[in-house]
């Protein structure tokens, strides 16, 4: 079938996955279902201990067997040791046909690749993958389809019962012996445990992995003992230097500063920029620079942000320090400043669950209340469809994260991307893979000019009379092609190796196996 973003989804894929093709951003509004549930084993005997000596022992206690689905969170980012630690033991014990349901996987998890090759791991569901796992999937090494989902989409899949987690492994910076887990108070603090909350609630078995055991009760807990079966204490759960880095130095790259300036000018010329507005931004140089310049405009005009959503970095947290924002709701901390902020301002810097953040299938998420979201993209096409997962070489190399969720929710979705990424045009006729549908993207800001989605005539009208370089997205594409030429499409093989899951569980696009480039005669 051809879905609502014009992508051909093979019938066979719909059959295998039991999914429908994507039908539009609001097609599943009012969708009714019964939530899935975890199978619980009661803890009646107060003398029983939850502490287990090793990953090996906890796998035995959890009844680990072939074909199970296990889950991980990515709050330790590229500093994570938990995934490899658990997977190496699973590998050593000889289990096969394991499904990994991760919130995201990075280069830190390259050691999983041999386990994909030998059939230990046969399915992956993740927001995205970077590094060698992406290569392995794109070259057809994973037995089953990889499912790339958004943060909101993953929680939807878990809560709706589409995905059932047998064992959740939750890396916890601090834990008590009864399983109250905190994101801080240890050696590898990560600020929040938002992405692990659904796993804790919906997995049959929940294993906390910590390197810092603290006296009971470890409160206020991000994840409560009521959901935790076992606590394993290990030497190190992560590399703190790679979990929360120092705040990135604000960019001095004039290209990024120019895009940031365009972004700020755009934002302040919309009707949504008024006292109490809401805002989310990413961690790219231009996004951070636009937060900094937006703060100056807010101060100048006496306008205060109602709430900010993140993925947070120091510049967003500094809005709190300067009292330019009422409250920050936080699902992930990208630097030390953010990790410190949530500890310093427990009343105004609040940890929320991934479901509260972005799940389209609960009774209301924060993304639906966003005025602005500032995003990046690898590719944007003339229909404003974005690709944030598959590189222009056809290899899976990025993550959806909250991109499709925030784009769908926000009143004004702005994507910032330089027109050219080296010799690759970022604006093109048709993206390699659609990950965020164009109907949810309102504005594209590049270093060469700004294109507004024709669906948003209201925003086009707002920008009349400004000095912003507004043009059509076709003009931006033509500019890009006039400089670097129109690239030939990537040559894919026939086999589908993965799907891009829409946040509502439909199929947005498929990812095919890459094949070596064949030159035409």
């Amino acid at each position: 079938m051809i879905n609502a973003v014009g992508r051909e989804i093979p019938e066979e894929i719909l059959k295998i996955t039991g999914k429908e093709g994507y039908q539009g951003a609001k097609a599943k509004d009012n969708f009714e279902f019964t939530r899935g549930a975890a199978r619980i084993r009661a803890m009646v005997d107060p003398t029983r201990s939850k502490v287990v000596d090793s990953i090996h022992d906890v796998l035995v206690k959890c009844g680990m067997r072939d074909g199970m689905t296990i889950s991980f969170h990515h709050h330790f980012r590229e500093g994570d040791y938990v995934v490899n630690m658990v997977m190496e033991e699973i590998h050593r014990m000889g289990f096969k046909d394991i499904s990994i349901c991760a919130t995201s996987l990075g280069k830190a998890h390259d050691p999983i690749v041999p386990m994909i090759e030998d059939g230990t791991v046969t399915s992956i569901r993740s927001s995205g993958v970077r590094g060698k796992i992406g290569q392995a999937i794109s070259t057809g090494k994973l037995k089953n389809l990889a499912v790339m989902c958004s943060h909101g989409g993953r929680v939807r899949a878990i809560e709706s019962g589409e995905v059932h987690i047998d064992i959740a492994f939750i890396g916890a910076p601090s834990a008590d012996e009864y399983g109250n887990l905190k994101a801080n108070g240890g050696k590898s603090n990560c600020g929040v445990l938002s992405y692990a909350m659904a796993d804790a609630q919906y997995a049959d078995k929940v294993v906390a992995v910590t390197d810092t055991l603290v006296p009971f009760p470890n409160v206020p807990a991000s994840i409560s003992m009521t959901n935790v079966d076992y606590v394993v204490v290990v030497d190190e759960i992560g590399n703190p230097a790679k979990i929360a880095t120092g705040a990135a130095k604000p960019t001095t790259d004039m290209r990024k500063l120019r895009m940031a300036d365009y972004c700020t000018q755009f934002v302040i010329n919309t009707p949504y920029f008024k006292d109490g507005f809401s805002y989310q931004t990413g961690v790219g140089g231009a996004s951070i620079a636009s937060t900094i310049s937006l703060a100056e405009e807010m101060e100048k005009r006496g306008i205060r942000m109602g709430f900010g959503v993140g993925g947070l970095t120091t510049p967003m947290c500094s809005l709190l320090e300067r009292d330019l924002v009422g409250v920050l709701v936080d699902t992930q901390d990208f630097d030390l400043g953010a990790v410190e902020s949530i500890q310093k301002h427990p009343d105004r810097h609040i940890e929320i669950s991934a479901s509260e953040y972005a799940n389209p299938f609960n009774k209301g998420a924060y993304v639906n209340k966003l005025d602005f979201v500032i995003l990046a993209a690898l590719e944007v096409d003339v229909n404003f469809n974005c690709n944030v997962v598959v590189g222009s070489d056809g290899v899976i190399t990025g993550a959806q994260g909250g991109h499709p969720d925030t784009a769908a929710g926000a009143k004004c979705t702005i994507v910032i991307a330089p027109l050219l990424q080296g010799r690759i045009p970022a604006v093109c006729t048709s993206v390699t893979t659609v990950t965020t549908p164009g109907e949810t993207v309102d504005v594209l800001i590049t270093d060469y000019g700004i294109a507004i989605n024709p669906r948003r005539q209201d925003l086009i009208d707002c920008m009349k009379g400004t000095k912003l370089p507004i043009c059509t997205i076709e003009e931006l594409r033509d500019m890009a092609y006039s400089i670097v030429g129109e690239p030939d499409p990537v040559q894919f093989g026939d086999r589908v190796v993965g799907i891009i899951e829409g946040r509502d569980g439909t199929v947005m696009d498929v990812v095919r196996e890459i094949k070596p480039y064949e030159f035409r005669d």
């Binding site: 004039m254 050219l420 060469y448």
Partner: protein
Amino acid sequence: MSHPNKKRLRRSMMFLNCQKPGLIKDPYIYKPDSIMLDLEDAVAENQKDAARYSLYHALQEIDYRGVERVVRINGLDTPHWREDIRVCVAGGADTIRIAKTESARDVHIVEEHVLAAEREFGRPEGSTLLMAALESCRGVLHALEVCESSDRLIGIALSGGDYTKDLQTVITGTGVELQGARQQMIIAARAAGVQCWDTVFTNLDAMDVFEEEVKMIKMMGFDGKSLVNPRQIDIVHKIFTPSQKEIIFAEKVVREIDEKKSLGIGVFTVDGKMIDIAFYDGAKRTIDLAKASGVYEGDL
């Protein structure tokens, strides 16, 4: 008739290293008035040929969208300048910046080779403009003869690094070491009716000091400044572009002088300031600058 672009707006002239194609592919997005594609000091001695190759293709293939394309060629004391000139003219550069100019004779030598290249590559004779960088005490002392040396010459630029070496001092950050050269050069340029640009400011961590320096050279009469980073462009443009207040006052001066002249009145006041015919050219220049900078909305 002199070249129509001889007196165009040149507030910002940004250096770019021809050895780096990534830098020269799209500097127009920063909207400088001129770019100076460098074949000289930024290019390693054994990469001159590669830089010329990049330069030629950039000049031929890239639409710089109205930004003036100046090329800084190697000094006349090097083996490179002759080939540099041929490549500039073949590629169609707007202007050639002559490094280390010391006399009118230096300009004449370059002019001769430019003419020959224009004939060789079928470019209209006289289409390639010249500017001269003064980088020594002798060059600064010869400023007037350099300014008057050629119809192709659009102006002179101070090159502070080499000049202070020759002066046996260093760039101090106070500007005291450059005072004499700056004064001498702007006076010579104005006497000859050509433009004059100040030297680069290289400390990108001291944008506030840079801003003060730009304000100062604007007050001294300079037309603009050589730049090393796109972050400097907006600051220069902001300072060199007349404010709406200045534009409105200039409009009043021009209108009042035109009106009072016909009534036989020579001196009068505008907004409490005494005005006479001596203010006319200055007011006209403010309006011209506003027009060239794209901020003039009036009808004068």
